[in-house]
């Protein structure tokens, strides 16, 4: 049962443009959402998070949007840079849980 699903396996954008990565989830009890970035041969690193009491959280070039009614999470990167090329994972947890549920990962390529 995949509770967190990515919407597309890969995305390619031009440097300077916007990158939009999307995730859908099925568990309405999820109340905390995160995005991780992973470079080859490295472990995932935390990027940005959002609580279910908010619908938007911004950190520099990265903004996460949460649409609870649609059970939809998105990550916007503006402007995209070649160094953003990586695999991105969305993740979610529910209150009181000690576990994060991850999506399958989306490969972003930013072309110079």
């Amino acid at each position: 049962d995949q509770q967190v699903k990515k919407n597309s396996p890969s995305l390619s954008v031009q440097e300077g443009r916007i990158s939009i990565l999307n995730c859908d989830y099925t568990n309405s009890m999820f109340d905390y959402f995160l995005w991780y970035k992973k470079y080859p041969a490295e472990g995932p690193t935390f990027l940005i998070s959002i609580s279910s009491i908010k619908d938007k959280n911004e950190d520099g070039r990265f903004t996460v949007f949460l649409n609870k009614s649609a059970k939809h999470l998105s990550l916007h990167i503006v402007p995209s840079q070649p160094g953003d090329s990586a695999v991105y994972f969305c993740a979610a947890s529910q209150g009181g849980s000690e576990k994060l549920v991850f999506g399958k990962g989306m490969k972003l390529t930013v072309n110079p």
Binding site: Y32, A91, K104
Partner: protein, 116 residues
């Protein structure tokens, strides 16, 4: 960077042999996790620990066991390795995970395991 060391970084073994992967942390975090990453499956939780000698199963725990005798060490054992356990294994730590106080996980660099 969080002080997490996974060993070995790479291992090739044969089907049916036992394998132990080690995760060592210097952050004194309470929670430790083992995930595996596979193409088409993303990151899946194998087992986790919420304290010394306190462990629980994740979504893909069959064929794996864990032990945590000290705060800083979390061992993952494949009692009899199978080819389906060929994967990249990641250890992660957290002071208090997302569902509790919205803290995040910090990941190690991973162990590439090949079972032939």
């Amino acid at each position: 960077d969080a002080g997490i060391t996974q060993s070995p970084r790479h291992k090739v073994t044969e089907t049916g042999t036992p394998v132990t992967l080690r995760c060592h942390q210097t952050e004194n975090h309470r929670y430790m996790y083992w995930y595996r990453q596979d193409p088409g499956h993303g990151l899946r939780l194998i087992h986790y620990s919420y304290g010394v000698k306190d462990t629980d199963k994740g979504e893909v725990s069959d064929g794996y066991s864990v032990s945590r005798s000290k705060t800083e060490d979390f061992l993952l054992t494949l009692e009899s390795a199978t080819s389906s356990q060929t994967s990249v294994y990641f250890c992660a730590i957290s002071e208090s995970p997302g569902g509790v106080t919205n803290e995040k996980l910090f990941f190690g660099s991973g162990t590439q395991l090949s079972v032939l």
